[in-house]
């Protein structure tokens, strides 16, 4: 028998205009955690889709236990005991946890469901691995972390031996991440093999045994984790040295740009207000970070600030102009740029080309239209300049349909568009979510460049590393209120964590301006 459970040998997969995988080899040993590392668009997802039967490679073969297998579709993959937790969960929202787990392999007798057995098996698995779930809760009612457990249980229920985790930690809180790592270790002890796709180097160092690195569709190498360092991995991944520390010039504070007074926003989901009486200021030349665990009112606050939602009470002033009740377009004209939280839902029209997306905020300006007719040439030149300046990569240049671009490049496109608008205030909501270190470094540099140019930056982030590294001032939001204000130089992630989870709060409201 072969040493490897799964081997993907010399895989090549082409898409129009791009070689997503170019002669890539990946060998997974039994009982190891094997990390697959690469920038966005490096070809990780394509490779996994090949393994899962969603794509057929042009060249190369897949072996299981040394024998060549053909995987035509996900069912074949399932039959070979390969299971995958996708980055975006594949769950039926209105079904219960149990229903989701057995979906597709329902135990039945003459077409009648036999749920009792299924429930027993699920409960056993859940107990054995410490994956606590309520089998009768509906997916839409449970947290993201819990949903992920359901996905993991789904794989276990199918007796999968090879488990693929596609960026599993992107949506989890620090505590949940620790738990997940523990569960992974537990799996490998039982002889299961894990493929762990990520670009978070800390996690790889913590949990993986070996790591395969891809860059721009090419195979760079496979290394033993114990023989390598974080710096070396990131160099392999990006192809150059990466600076983890954000370089910032000395702060030069200017006039107040944004003033938020007693803003209250009603919640769509419950009777309480999502944002309660929030007041603060952002001055020119500073990056203010709104930190907090997901779902504590940050999204709603930003919606109210940018005009996507109405606020119940309060006043927002931008550069001495009251913008509390003006339209989104007017706010944008007044100098707000917004890098939205969900780039697919809000940030881009995915079926438009890159150039059409580049002018999404400004198509109405005289530079781009003449009496209602679009100036195609001017638009093209503008877009070409932007993608060059901001290094946005795509298969067919400015006429690429944005849907076909990688997440990192989509995000870069949004950032290019929003920064090129020359805003007074840049609102960036989780701008680095799901991006690799190279892209993160780049985006942080752009945010700092705005700050150094004397603009105001409001950063909403869930990543504590980012919060500590980038910001000049931290406001912690908990249950719709600002519960503390900190100087990143004088606080620790542990302290922030306490405030974020509601364990502590500063008395009285955070002082404005600091």
């Amino acid at each position: 028998m072969s040493e490897y459970v799964i081997e993907m040998l010399n895989i090549t997969k082409e898409f129009p205009g791009i070689k997503a995988n170019d002669n890539i080899t990946l060998q997974l040993k039994k009982g190891e955690v094997h990390a697959l590392l690469g920038e966005n668009g490096a070809g990780k997802s394509t490779l996994m889709s090949v393994l899962f039967g969603l794509y057929q490679p042009e060249k190369g073969c897949i072996k299981k236990n040394g024998e060549v297998v053909k995987i035509q579709n996900p069912n074949d993959a399932n039959a070979l005991n390969i299971g995958m937790v996708h980055q975006h969960f594949k769950l039926v929202e209105v079904f219960t946890v149990l229903d989701n787990i057995i979906l597709g392999v329902e135990p039945n007798q003459m077409g009648f469901l036999k749920k009792t057995e299924a429930r027993q098996k699920v409960m056993e698995l859940s107990e054995k691995y410490g994956l606590k779930v309520d089998p009768d809760a509906r997916i839409e009612d449970i947290s993201v972390g819990m949903q992920q457990r359901v996905e993991i249980l789904k794989m276990l229920y199918r007796d999968n031996e090879i488990l693929i985790f596609d960026e599993p930690t992107a949506v989890l809180t620090p505590q949940e991440i620790d738990e997940l790592m523990e569960i992974m270790r537990c799996f490998t002890k039982e002889g299961k093999s894990i493929l762990f796709i990520t670009h978070k180097l800390n996690e790889i160092m913590a949990v993986a045994d070996r790591c395969t690195v891809l860059r721009k569709g090419k195979y760079i190498g496979t290394v033993e984790i114990q023989d390598t360092t974080k710096e070396e991995l990131s160099k392999m991944m990006v192809g150059r040295e990466v600076n983890f520390k954000v370089e910032k010039k000395k702060q030069k504070l200017r006039d107040t740009i944004l003033k938020v007074e007693h803003v209250t926003v009603a919640s769509k989901f419950h009777k309480n207000n999502a944002v309660k009486d929030v007041s603060f200021e952002v001055k020119g030349g500073e990056i203010v970070c709104l930190a907090g665990i997901e779902g504590n009112g940050q999204t709603e606050f930003v919606s109210a600030l940018t005009g996507l939602e109405k606020m119940a009470e309060g006043k927002i002033t931008l550069c001495k102009k009251d913008i509390s009740h003006i339209s989104i377009r007017e706010r944008s004209k007044s100098g707000i740029s917004h890098i939205p939280e969900d780039r697919h839902k809000h940030g881009l029209v995915l079926d438009y080309t890159l150039e059409e997306n580049m002018i999404l905020q400004e198509y109405w300006k005289p530079e781009f239209q003449n009496h209602g007719f679009m100036k195609r040439k001017a638009i093209r030149e503008y877009a070409k300049r932007l993608i060059q300046q901001f290094d946005v990569r795509s298969g067919q240049g400015v006429s690429t349909i944005v849907r076909s671009m990688s997440g990192g490049n989509q995000q870069k496109a949004i950032i290019a568009r929003e920064i090129e608008k020359k805003p007074e205030l840049l609102v960036a909501v989780q701008p680095t979510r799901g991006l690799d270190v190279g892209a993160i470094e780049y985006i942080h540099k752009q945010l700092v460049a705005q700050r150094d140019a004397g603009k105001g930056v409001l950063l909403v982030s869930l990543e504590l590393d980012e919060v500590m590294n980038v910001s000049d001032r931290i406001l912690v939001m908990y249950e719709g209120e600002i519960v503390g204000e900190f100087d990143p130089k004088q606080t620790t992630t542990e302290e922030l964590g306490l405030y974020m989870s509601g364990g502590k709060r500063q008395h009285g409201k955070a002082k404005e301006g600091a």
Partner: protein
């Protein structure tokens, strides 16, 4: 090699190819049906169906005459599709458009262009209502539009039967269940023929097909070249993102339905102002509106493509009519429906073509691999 490959995989080639193939499949299936219904006349019938349209100039005139309103309803449905809405109310808007046009020229003795203007306004109004319901109350436009199809039709019947001047027998015509013939009631209400009727030897021929082509090109320009079209499509593709970009999505939904309705309304106007059609007080929805849906689908909602798909469907209908009496009217309708139905499969066939081209490529690679492990890639 590379160029041909690029051409073969280009979007426009694949979608054109798919439309042609699906039409071909439809015709083949129609032939099989003909054999099933009446094998003796099958081949002759088939020949009639596909050859009648170009057999004589008067038949060609009929094709053009029937195509004009079809293209208009196709444009209407396609325009709404492009902006993310499903306008199933084209038939209602068409009916209202027809009514407004006829009222203007018969009741008020206006010239034909005023009639068409009235048709535009009527259709636009009937399209606006589902649009407003969708934009402001989030009521699905399909439901509202279906209701307004029936409301429109019965309203028109009710109004016409209470307007004696509109009815044929007021003008010494024999029937009391249809509107007056324009030749009697108001010759200036007819769309000009500009000598085309004599040229083609057919009373059906007038300038409407040219107006329609002009409108189709106009719609194309609006969608592709203007900021207005950019906004409309952005709302259609992603309403959230267009709101984020400061586009007034509600306004655009309403406008989109208004324009869509106006296009269908013109269709009704054009058909009934030709002078050769009279509005019948029937109790069923007019098929012309619904036929716009396959016309739009067949053209993948492309306004210029709609011209051709409209002509095709009209062509098949004229050919079908010529198949009587060997085939019953109903049989012909079934066959035409099957052809149209299969024609609408173009999306599916697009996928198949792509797979086919890809599979071809895959085989080449597999062979290469077996014989010589690595030959320079074919980029």
């Amino acid at each position: 090699m590379n160029k041909t490959k690029n051409f073969l995989t280009s979007q426009s080639f694949v979608s054109c190819m798919a439309s042609f193939l699906s039409i071909l499949f439809g015709l083949l299936f129609g032939l099989i049906l003909l054999f099933l219904f009446n094998s003796e006349f099958a081949l002759r019938g088939f020949n009639k169906m596909i050859a009648t349209g170009i057999g004589s100039s008067d038949k060609l005139a009929k094709v053009l005459y029937q195509a004009a309103p079809l293209i208009m309803t196709g444009l209407s449905v396609g325009f709404a599709f492009k902006t993310g809405l499903f306008n199933i109310g084209a038939t209602g808007q068409y009916t209202i458009g027809a009514f407004c046009a006829l009222t203007a020229v018969i009741q008020f003795q206006m010239p034909w262009y005023i009639g068409l203007l009235a048709a535009v306004i009527g259709g636009a109004l009937w399209g606006a209502i589902p649009g407003i319901c969708k934009a402001f109350f989030n009521v699905n436009e399909v439901i509202t539009a279906i209701m307004f199809n029936w409301i429109g039709m019965f309203l028109v019947n009710l109004l016409i039967s209470n307007m004696p001047k509109m009815i044929a027998n007021y003008w010494a015509g024999p029937q009391s269940d249809r509107t007056a013939s324009l030749a009697v009631a108001n010759p200036s209400g007819m769309i000009p023929k500009a000598g085309l009727d004599k040229l083609m030897g057919s009373n059906y021929m007038n300038i409407s097909i040219f107006m329609v082509i002009l409108i189709a090109v106009l719609v194309y320009l609006v969608l592709q070249k203007t900021t207005f079209g950019y906004e409309l499509k952005a709302c259609g593709y992603n309403r959230n993102a267009s709101e984020y970009a400061g586009i007034n999505a509600k306004k655009n939904i309403v406008l989109s339905m208004v324009i869509s309705g106006a296009l269908a309304g013109i269709g009704g106007g054009i058909y009934y102002l030709s002078g050769t059609a009279q509005y019948n007080l029937v109790k069923s929805l007019l098929a012309a509106g619904f036929n716009g849906i396959p016309v739009a689908l067949l053209a993948s909602s492309n306004p210029v493509g709609t011209i051709f798909s409209g002509l095709f469907i009209s062509y098949i209908q004229v050919g079908g009519d010529a198949m009587q009496p060997e085939f019953a009217k109903e049989t012909i309708d079934i066959i035409i429906s099957v052809i149209i139905y299969l024609s609408a499969f173009s999306l599916l066939i697009q996928e198949i073509i792509r797979k086919f081209i890809k599979a071809d490529k895959g085989n080449v690679n597999a062979e290469q691999q077996n014989e010589q492990p690595k030959k320079g890639n074919r980029k």
